[in-house]
Every structure is written in structure tokens, then in C-alpha cells.
């Protein structure tokens, strides 16, 4: 049981690390400069 909990924590950390690394997506991209017609 204890081992399962530790392993679960380990996998949660991996998920958290993935979220930190790749979490911000398209919506965080910078606005382009509109140059009009």
C-alpha cells in the first residue's frame, strides 16, 4: 500500500512536470503586429 502511494506520488510529479513544461499553449502566444492595408 505504502509503495503504491509513493509510486502514485512519483507519477503525479511527472504529470506536474509535464504541465509546467508544456502547460501554456496557444492562448499564451504573443499578439502579432497588425500592419493593416
Amino acid at each position: 500500500m505504502g509503495r503504491t502511494v509513493l509510486l502514485t506520488g512519483y507519477y503525479l510529479l511527472i504529470i506536474a512536470a509535464l504541465v509546467m513544461l508544456y502547460g501554456q499553449g496557444d492562448s499564451a502566444a504573443t499578439e502579432f503586429i497588425y500592419q493593416g492595408f
Binding site: S27, Y34, F37
Partner: protein, 406 residues
């Protein structure tokens, strides 16, 4: 004894993460609903690739959503709708979902992303003649489309169960024409390729990939919520405060006031072009053109414009999702185009084609033609509203909100 400790632990971790995502979504939606009025009054372009805040805006009876392009957001003036209505003088405010460089293709995807929540909801789609009359082949510029592209909006369109195969085919064909926007987005590109050439096999593959699409959409929606919540948390106390100051508006006096300001800001040229735009177009006026001398070119350009097909696509999305939409067009800047050799008769082809595309969908259209000769209405050739033009637009928005138009 647990023979698969890693599998059990990984499954537990994934379930816990999914639960955390769900809890965060609920928190995010509550935050967005609470602060959407504050966001409406701010420049929220940085979250414009998302859709969460627009979903929140759709639910508010005192927010009028406007979709469109630069016609709505170019001029920074107190008469521009998001400033003019920021104190809810007549009981409502606009939520500007228009973006610089936006086009019908962009709007089609954005509306598709609203999905079922669009049904029965009033939205305004503001368009103008700029792309049809000035852009090469009447097509949205690649840099504008790329700058506005949202993977979230695109995938929401691809995996929207309420859109027909034909609408998705039309959209996919167009979207594949902008390959840079699909770089590194394998599922999106794969799906668009399937949708663009429908066959029993491609349709089957598309439906087989549906779970993968929902998984990716789940991630993108969470990212959207995160970006929106972060944006809201960065608003200052002053920015989240909403002041409601009902008052009766004297539209005639406002027109007069705004015209005086516009005249001051157009003194660099004799054509009523705003000073901020004059340098961009002054070369066009160096050699005088006889009235009607450019009619043939103009008529050809406006007739073959690609944007008409994209407008039809946006209207299909509006129709299939059951939105209560209204189309509002900027007028041609009649005197300015006449100076360039295009007669009013030729310019009217824009309105004829506009009605030809819009009317079959039964969507109310305010084409703006009656505004075409109002002095200082438009600030340039692309029909961007001037300070004075904005008062007319604001009055129209007020009439729409009250139900006295269309």
C-alpha cells in the same frame, strides 16, 4: 498482493490529475463568469486565441458580443464601443470579440468553438469591404490569418458534432491553404486532410480519431482556462470595478462633437483621411484618376474576392449552430473611392454581392450603404470607422440591443 504496482499507481495519478483538472475548470468558469464584465472593458487581445471568456460573455444579458476585424478595433478613441458603453449608459456593454486582421474564416472557427452555447444567443458579426476590395484576390492576408489562428478554435470546429460534413469540408479546404498554421499540429492537420476529401474511409478514420480529438481539446480548454484566469488575476482593483451610469444620450450632439474632433485629426490632407492613416495611402492620390476609370478593375476584384466564400462559411456555422446573428457592415467610403476613379455605381457591387451571400441564410443584414457619403464617417479607404463614424455605429448597437433594429 499488487502485481502491477506501476500500472495501478499511474492509473491513480492520471485519475487524480483528471479530477484536479475538473476542479480547476469549475473554479475557472466561476472566475470567468464573475469577472467577464471587467474583461469586456479591457484590451483582452492576449486571450483572444481562447474561447472561455466569450462563453462567459454569451451568458450575460447585458453584454452584446461583436465579432469581426480591424474595422472595430483600429482607432483608439472614447467613441469606440468598448469605451463608449463602458459605464453601461443605456443598460448594456459590448464584448468585443473582434481582432485586428480578423476575417470571416477566423470568425467561422471562433463561432464554431462556442458550439452548443451559441444556440439562440444574439451575436453581431461586423464586416467591412476592406478584404473584398483591397486585398490581393480579396483574400485574407496570410500574416493576418496566421496571427489570429487558434488551434483550439480549429479543433473545436473539426470535432463539433453539430456542424455538417459539407461545412467542415469547406472549412478544412480553406484551412489547409495556410500550412504554417498547421506546423507541429499533427492531429489537426490529419483531421483537416480527412475532412477536405470526404470518403467512407476518411469519414471512418475521422470518427475513429474522435477520442484523441476530445483528449487534445480537453488539454487545450484547460490551457485556455489557465490563461484566462491568469489574465483576470492580473487585473487591478480599479480595472475590475464596474461603474454603471445610466443616462440619456443626445446622439445628434455626439455626432457634432465627434465630427469636430475628427476634422482636427484629418487636417493633413484634403480627403478627410485620418492623419494616422494618411501616410500609408497618400501615394494612391498623387495622380488624379477620372471618375469611372477604375470601375472595371474594381468590379473584377470585388467579384472574385475569396472572402465571399469565407463569409458563406461563417454563415453556415451561424445557421447550423442556431445563433441569433445579425450582420453589420461598414460602408464603402464613397467619395474617397470616387477620387481613385471608382464610381459609386461600381462601388455598389459590394452591397449587391453582400446581399447575395447573406440573404439566402435569412440572417438580418444592416449593410451600412446609407452611411457611404456621410463626411468623415470613415477614416480611410478600408472603411475603418472614424470618431464620428463610431457614434453612428454606437447608436446602431444601442438600437440593436433595444430591439428597435433590424
Amino acid at each position: 498482493m499488487n502485481r502491477l504496482p506501476h500500472l495501478v499507481a499511474a492509473a491513480a495519478a492520471i485519475l487524480a490529475a483528471a479530477a484536479a483538472g475538473l476542479v480547476f475548470s469549475v473554479y475557472a468558469r466561476r472566475t470567468e463568469n464573475k469577472y467577464v464584465h471587467a474583461v469586456a472593458a479591457q484590451d483582452h487581445a492576449e486571450i483572444s486565441r481562447g474561447i472561455a471568456i466569450e462563453r462567459a460573455a454569451l451568458q450575460q444579458p447585458d453584454l452584446l458580443l461583436i465579432y469581426g476585424a480591424s474595422e472595430l478595433v483600429l482607432l483608439q478613441t472614447e467613441y469606440e464601443a468598448t469605451r463608449f458603453f463602458s459605464t453601461y449608459p443605456t443598460g448594456f456593454m459590448v464584448f468585443n470579440a473582434a481582432t485586428k486582421g480578423g476575417s470571416s474564416l477566423t470568425v467561422a472557427q471562433r463561432l464554431a468553438a462556442l458550439g452548443a452555447e451559441l444556440r439562440g444567443r444574439r451575436i453581431i458579426f461586423a464586416i467591412g469591404p476592406a478584404i473584398m476590395t483591397m486585398a490581393p484576390f480579396g483574400d485574407v492576408a496570410e500574416r493576418h490569418y496566421e496571427g489570429n489562428f487558434s488551434e483550439l478554435h480549429a479543433l473545436e470546429l473539426v470535432f463539433n458534432p453539430r456542424l455538417s460534413q459539407e461545412t467542415k469540408r469547406m472549412a478544412a479546404e480553406r484551412m489547409l491553404g495556410f500550412p504554417k498554421t498547421l506546423d507541429g499540429k499533427r492531429l489537426l492537420k490529419f483531421s483537416l486532410t480527412l475532412l477536405a476529401r470526404p470518403s467512407p474511409a476518411s469519414t471512418a478514420l475521422h470518427y475513429l480519431s474522435w477520442p484523441l480529438g476530445q483528449l487534445q481539446l480537453g488539454v487545450l480548454r484547460l490551457q485556455d482556462h489557465e490563461a484566462t484566469v491568469r489574465y483576470i488575476h492580473h487585473l487591478s482593483a480599479a480595472e475590475v470595478e464596474i461603474r454603471r451610469e445610466p443616462r440619456t444620450l443626445d446622439w445628434d450632439a455626439l455626432v457634432e462633437q465627434a465630427e469636430a474632433e475628427q476634422i482636427e485629426n484629418s487636417d493633413s490632407n484634403p480627403y478627410a483621411v485620418d492623419n494616422s492613416q494618411w501616410n500609408k495611402i497618400k501615394e494612391l492620390f498623387e495622380v488624379p484618376a477620372a471618375l469611372g476609370s477604375r470601375d472595371e478593375d474594381f468590379l473584377n476584384d470585388v467579384t472574385i474576392a475569396r472572402e465571399w466564400k469565407d463569409l458563406e462559411l461563417a454563415l453556415r456555422v451561424i445557421h447550423e449552430l442556431g445563433a441569433d446573428a445579425l450582420i453589420m457592415s461598414s460602408p464603402m467610403n464613397v467619395p474617397l473611392w470616387e477620387t481613385l476613379g471608382v464610381s459609386e455605381h461600381a462601388q455598389n457591387r459590394y452591397y449587391q454581392l453582400l446581399h447575395a451571400v447573406v440573404d439566402p441564410f435569412g440572417v438580418p443584414l444592416l449593410d451600412g450603404q446609407e452611411w457611404g457619403r456621410i463626411p468623415y464617417f470613415s477614416m480611410d479607404l478600408a472603411s475603418h470607422a472614424s470618431r464620428k463614424g463610431w457614434i453612428y455605429v454606437d447608436q446602431r448597437l444601442d438600437q440593436i440591443y433595444r430591439g428597435s433594429l433590424p
